[in-house]
Symmetry: C2
Subunit: 435 residues, 2 copies
């Protein structure tokens, strides 16, 4: 088995070197053909999904999986159509590969081009949702990366149906490397993947905090993603109160399980007595349970007490912790200390405080007067996303095609040597920007 995964990774690496040389047309043709083939095989895919759902139903009855996971497993017509539309959307995006990012004339006849290129082999580990296979496959093909996918065991038949159709389609394209899109099945396979830093260049885990943390702790391969999503909204002392309530409500209840849902509300002391009673009423009407620090409880005595661990908790549910802070500085301090660097928002009409917050909160997304739920690749206009990163290197926030690329430097010369550019009579560099 060890050998098997290693072989898959080796062949993926070889495929990645061929993918890097494909033109846009070949890649777009592959995307179109996959979309067509999935449509042509819709009945087969749905029949396999039915089988998965039968087994999942039992797991649900035995409470081995949640209703949410069951729902995510289930393909529907609208999910299927969105999936097909997603492939064609990615096809329409500009090719992210072979773009000259910058060019410099170093000297006469010596020109340096910084050109975008694929990363190589990307391992993507995800749970439940089988349509992720199709989404990641599209992004990988467009960005000319090979992928090794590991999906949830609960959707194994649906996964295999997708993979079978993708493989059959790609095998009909003469220039397309056959080992570009790979699929592994077990948790043990994942453990083995994590050791293959020689062949795998990047791991993207999509799933629970536990999954992401396990992967971060057990590989030398760079990991792109986020574990926690502890997002904050700060109601500044001169916030528009109705706006603050509207934004916080959406950020909490529009999809409470999402990583970009708000978990902690910080309220400036000066506005707290006006803001909190009205806020509390509306949140309660919408089924949100509030927890507060002692100052909040002075204003809202009936809510539960929030402890320090609440500031570090991603509820993923209709629960919100509230803390009263002195001012924007204390809000920034709290967010940088307890936040996860995901997405944080200030509600304020004070320009200076807004600028301070936007500049000093160290998060992938810093928002002014807008719901944290906007942190998403589609909403940002990236076309699609492979995930949301809270990393401080490579890519941050929602990651689209660009995050699946790196660059190489191409230097074109006419026999120049460094000896001519050193010492007493050294030639001088021009360093003129071309692009």
């Amino acid at each position: 088995m060890t050998n098997n995964i290693k072989q898959i990774a080796q062949k993926a690496k070889e495929a990645s070197l061929i993918l890097a040389g494909l033109n846009s047309q070949t890649k777009d043709q592959a995307l179109q053909d996959i979309a067509d083939a999935l449509l042509a095989n819709k009945a087969y895919i749905f029949s396999q999904n039915e089988e998965d759902l039968k087994k999942a139903k039992k797991l649900l009855e035995n409470k081995e999986i949640s209703q949410a996971i069951y729902d995510r497993l289930k393909l529907s017509d609208s999910k299927f159509n969105d999936m097909i539309a997603g492939i064609l959307d990615v096809k329409k995006l500009q090719d992210p590969i072979n773009t000259t990012l910058c060019a410099t004339k170093l000297a006469e006849g010596l020109e340096l081009y910084k050109v975008s290129c694929p990363i190589g082999v990307i391992g993507v580990i995800f749970e439940a949702r089988p349509d992720v296979i199709v989404q990641i496959t599209s992004l990988a093909i467009k960005s000319a990366n090979a992928v090794i996918l590991k999906g949830g065991i609960e959707s194994i038949l649906t996964n295999n149906a997708f993979i079978k159709i993708i493989h059959e389609t790609l095998s009909k394209l003469p220039n397309f490397p056959q080992n570009a899109i790979n699929f592994v099945e077990t948790r043990e396979d994942v453990n083995q993947m994590l050791a293959l830093d020689k062949y795998i260049d990047l791991i993207i885990p999509r799933g629970s905090n536990k999954l992401v943390q396990f992967i971060q702790n057990n590989t030398k391969i760079p990991v792109l993603g986020h574990a926690d999503g502890i997002c904050h909204i700060f109601i500044d002392e001169n916030a528009n109160i109705d706006l603050g309530i509207k934004i916080t409500l959406d950020s909490k209840i529009q999809y409470p399980a999402a990583c970009n849902a708000v978990e902690t509300l910080l309220v400036a002391e000066k506005i707290s007595k006006t803001f909190l009673p009205k806020f509390s009423k509306i949140m309660t009407e919408n089924g949100v349970k509030l927890k507060g620090d002692s100052k909040t409880k002075d204003i809202l005595p009936n809510i539960e007490k929030a402890e320090e661990k609440d500031w570090q908790t991603e509820y993923g549910d209709k629960i919100l912790s509230i803390k009263i802070v002195k001012n924007v500085e204390e809000a920034i301090f709290h967010i940088n200390k307890f936040g996860s660097g995901h997405t944080d928002c200030i509600v304020s009409e004070n320009k200076e405080n807004v600028e301070k917050f936007m500049s000093l909160v160290d998060s992938a997304g810093v928002y002014h007067n807008v719901s944290t739920r906007f942190a998403d690749g589609f909403r940002y206009g990236l076309g699609a996303e492979v995930g949301i990163s809270t990393n401080k290197t490579h890519a941050r926030g929602p990651v689209g095609l660009e995050g699946l690329t790196i660059y190489k430097y191409k230097l074109f010369g006419h026999g120049q040597i460094v000896a001519e550019y050193t010492g007493k009579n050294a030639k001088r560099f021009l360093h003129e920007r071309i692009i």
Copy 2:
């Protein structure tokens, strides 16, 4: 001691959050003041360096350190002047922070800005050369990152002199955080740093392969750099022979210990009989020892046999391995299999082969008709470099200021909520590019 390093890292993190808000003027003032203070304290710095050299002399006599290390320890007038010029060069560079990389109008009154920002806290671990402290400090200040530096123990007094002057200078600047530039001394400190992924965002090791590999194997923190530098030159079948010899000679002997020096020469079979005898004569005259595969030995019978391990060896010396390959495809295959992804060159007059090589060799630098020794931040016009990266994510090749930055998304709204953009009567996004 554990506590000490942890405290340093924690305070560096706090400092980094302040640094992120500094304007260009404050940072440039700090750089100017450091340059002035180093000049004013030149005599003191040189006296401390003398003391280091006395001790190093004994180590050299006992063969505990090499002549090369001794030479790198020694400050000279020209090194000192270059160092000061380097600070002022960095000062002159454009501020890499707070640049809008891209901006999109998502909807009316909803604008998204992708803005460059510092990474946070960077650990830099280097050997011997004390002037690296000053270079890294300049780059860190300009890019608004806090740093924790660990220098070689052999230059401890010189290091401390630099650090003392830098700290004294920064302490006089009212807005500058005092814990921006930090210094640790022992190998044990480094081991502790590697565990502090909560506070340190990036590690840059500069030194031997062994040092870099140790660090890569012992931390969860992203590591930027390179272990091996196994660079290739491929002499294509229609290469200009004199150009091939000139370029290979420079790539090998101009500075054999550098990571961008060539280690393996690949020669197309068709040109080998014409190229190799002439090439061998000139290399031998220049004191380069050649090793070759069996086909090379058929042409140059007196050279040593190259084994497979030679294709994986960074000699760092006047030794070159030679292999005869069938064509450009085999050259590309060899480089992608045995290379380190650093810098590789094709010498050729055939456009098609050049394009193939430049597109399919998976290295940070791919060169046409030019010495591999050009792989360097200064020569590329980056102003200065923190190192050369063979990573496949974040930054690749010589890394300047830009590699010390990441970005955040700033979203400015007027109370927009995601609920308005979902469901049946969903508002539509505009996604108009502003910048």
